[in-house]
């Protein structure tokens, strides 16, 4: 397997809270990161902030298409609303690459969060349908953006469920999770079982509201 430290990680939608937080943690772990956004300027501004916060220089910004081209492994961290459109436009630069989808299709109303229905079954399955030449993995749905951003939290205390049908790709993404102190990459099933992992974010938000927490998930009884 490729040494994880040699890879360049692209983060599409890296100016959002979830994407930026993961970019920060990967930068701090020594990985080379490209933050992608619709505008290259906004991406570069976010990259500069991440470089400052992490105290590293191997973080750059680019528009999403350039980010997809430059990176070896790409995290999709855009809002659900723009998910299909963006991926459709990036089929070529993402071909052959491991694409990690962490998008949670959720709605909110007076009663709180709920899972949105997705025609393909899940955001990850939609990505796989739109990117037939990529190796799509679902992961990083449940990590708290607040905790990711707070570098005083040195151990994140959360497992990262990694789903996919390509063993080499899920192993790589598990290793990518393991680069962040406190994370543990855990295989979580095939891509067809991604919906409930995405939707479970609604439950975590409900838990956060009830307990005033930034809840994460641990799987017990693993060797």
């Amino acid at each position: 397997m490729t040494e994880i430290g040699e890879l360049t990680i692209g983060v599409l939608g890296g100016t959002g809270a979830q994407g930026r937080g993961l970019a920060l943690r990967w930068a701090k772990a020594g990985l080379t990161v490209v933050i992608g956004s619709r505008g290259a300027e906004r991406a570069e501004a976010a990259a500069a902030e991440v470089r400052d916060a992490a105290g590293v220089d191997h973080v750059s910004g680019a528009d999403n298409a350039a980010c997809a081209e430059r990176a070896d492994v790409v995290l999709v961290a855009v809002p659900w609303e723009g998910h299909a459109e963006l991926l459709r436009s990036l089929r070529e630069p993402l071909a052959g690459k491991v694409v990690i989808d962490c998008v949670n299709p959720l709605g909110f109303d007076k009663q709180g969060p709920f899972a949105l229905p997705v025609e393909e079954g899940s955001a990850a399955q939609q990505a796989a349908a739109l990117l037939p030449d990529s190796r799509v993995v679902a992961a990083f749905h449940h990590v708290s953006a607040v905790k990711l951003a707070d570098l005083s939290v040195t151990e994140l205390d959360s497992d990262v469920l990694v789903l996919g049908d390509d063993r080499e790709a899920t192993d790589l993404v598990r290793a990518l999770a393991d680069t962040v102190p406190g994370f543990r990459g855990v295989y979580g099933g095939r891509l067809r079982n991604a919906h409930q992992v995405e939707a479970f974010t609604a439950n975590l938000i409900a838990i956060n509201r009830r307990y005033k927490a930034h809840a994460g998930l641990r799987i017990t009884d693993l060797p």
Copy 2:
């Protein structure tokens, strides 16, 4: 709130692995338990085994209808295939009671487990639709039947997600979870977010196969 120890807990489908395992743990915790099954004789045989294993005498067996009548709080632990039919027949004896649904609508094929679509959204929502006079709560989906049955496992190391729209009912079910050493009842959201909790059992089965484990769930960062 009613003292949990004063309640009689009924377990519909209590001769199955999940129901019997929970009955055993509740019996051991000192609760009065009625094991329900289609036939009263099979239920009484299971109750005798639980009495022996737990070393207690407050466990009896009955057919499902008598179980529903006698119990204050009722766990629905029947196979998904018979779920709707059984609940439709028990609307009257279950009226006014807290009904806990732990049923996971899953299918299996060559690629392993997957979540079945449910017209009402989830097994728990189906129960709520069929039992409009009951207080339906979803909980106990992820507990390992193997570990429940093995009394050498004294601490079960698993949170029990408890979902529902009735605060008093979810608090009672959380307290019921807390009677079992190692369990912790955690509020997990409204009933409309039960589908992904039920479906997540497919992921746990995939995890169990990959890691040769009896995986459970813990929520981190709770006070």
